[in-house]
């Protein structure tokens, strides 16, 4: 259920672009951080359902995943967290959360448009 409502939003964002260009959506490129809390396979599953009968029907979803990174409060390095540890691998300092890995946006869409409409 978690992914359903966001998939509806993704389809809406893409359909809006298609309508502006009087075309059909052929591909939607998403950027999803691993800590955004959304599962790519679930989005794809719901997308196939919610896109039926819309300009998005049959479109391909591509998902670019982003690994979360912490920033060391001592040396400033960005690093990937190890399980049960927040320690910086370079200096042993404390890692603090960053926005890297929380991305959740539609990066671009590929549209098929008729030659007379461009």
């Amino acid at each position: 259920m978690h992914e359903y409502s966001v998939t509806v939003r993704i389809a809406k964002i893409a359909c809006d672009e298609a309508e502006k260009a009087h075309g059909r959506v052929r591909e939607i490129d998403l950027v999803v951080g691993d800590e955004a809390g959304f599962v790519g396979e679930s989005i794809q599953m719901y997308f196939d359902v919610v896109s039926r009968g819309t300009p998005c029907e049959g479109a391909r979803l591509t998902i670019e995943r982003v690994r979360p990174k912490l920033r060391c409060s001592s040396c400033g390095a960005l690093f990937e967290k190890k399980p049960f540890s927040f320690a910086c691998p370079l200096c042993g300092g404390n890692g603090t959360p960053t926005e890297i890995g929380r991305e959740f946006y539609v990066k671009s869409v590929k549209l098929e448009v008729s030659d007379s409409c461009t």
């Binding site: 993704i10 927040f86 990066k107 671009s108 869409v109």
Partner: protein, 216 residues
């Protein structure tokens, strides 16, 4: 026919965040300080609300979020607390449109506190803003001391943490130092109050903190 590429760069949660901002503005205008209450099922969230509401001097309202049933709402109403229920019927968290509809159906006559008890879940409630002023996270010692490491976002986003069921500590292997170390890494300044739902211990300090934070 030919293909064109369009840059979109649109945040998928933007609409939810926009509605959350609207809900927060509406509640602020009414003098309501809104607390999004998060925690695993069974952590004791409703029990904490019962204690806190007795201790807070300002009027308190509650919205209960559950997948099904109105057990908690009825329990609070039986104590004279103004409570309303959202059933998500399968959804694992509340979002801003759900709270928007709930608050517009409520009569919030006096300034005070609105506690929104989210669906019992340590994962998704942290990801969605619903229009709250702060998130209050409740974790019980029975949940385990590894929770900040396993569910970091909930701890990072928390404005205040209640560590509950502390009367059970002698019977469990809860490692408080390990727990607090994880909390401090994610959220260095968040206050942590140790509370006991059975005896009411610790809630006076938590209520005092909430009243000061809300200016009420």
């Amino acid at each position: 026919m030919h293909m064109i590429n369009r840059d979109v760069m649109t945040n998928i949660n933007a609409e939810n965040d926009h509605i959350a901002m609207h809900v927060n503005e509406y509640l602020k205008r009414k003098g309501i300080f809104t607390v999004n209450v998060m925690g695993a099922p069974g952590a004791g969230k409703t029990t904490s609300l019962e204690h806190l509401i007795k201790l807070l001097k300002a009027p308190c309202y509650v919205v209960e979020g559950d997948i099904e049933s109105d057990i908690d709402t009825e329990r609070l109403r039986a104590e004279g607390i103004l409570a309303s229920q959202i059933n998500t019927f399968g959804a694992c968290h509340l979002d801003a449109p759900l709270l928007h509809n709930a608050v517009h159906a409520m009569t919030l006559e006096k300034p005070g506190f609105l506690f929104v008890e989210n669906v019992g879940n340590l994962v998704c409630p942290a990801e969605f803003s619903i229009g709250e002023d702060i998130k209050m996270l409740q974790v019980s010692v029975a949940d385990g001391s590894d929770k900040p490491y396993k569910y970091p976002l909930a701890f990072e986003k928390a404005g205040v943490i209640l560590l509950s069921k502390i009367d059970l500590t002698p019977y469990l292997d809860f490692d408080e130092d390990f727990f607090l170390k994880g909390v401090r890494h994610l959220n260095p300044n968040v206050p942590v109050f140790k509370v006991c739902g059975k005896t009411g211990e610790g809630y006076a300090e938590a209520a005092k903190w909430l009243a000061e934070r809300a200016g009420k």
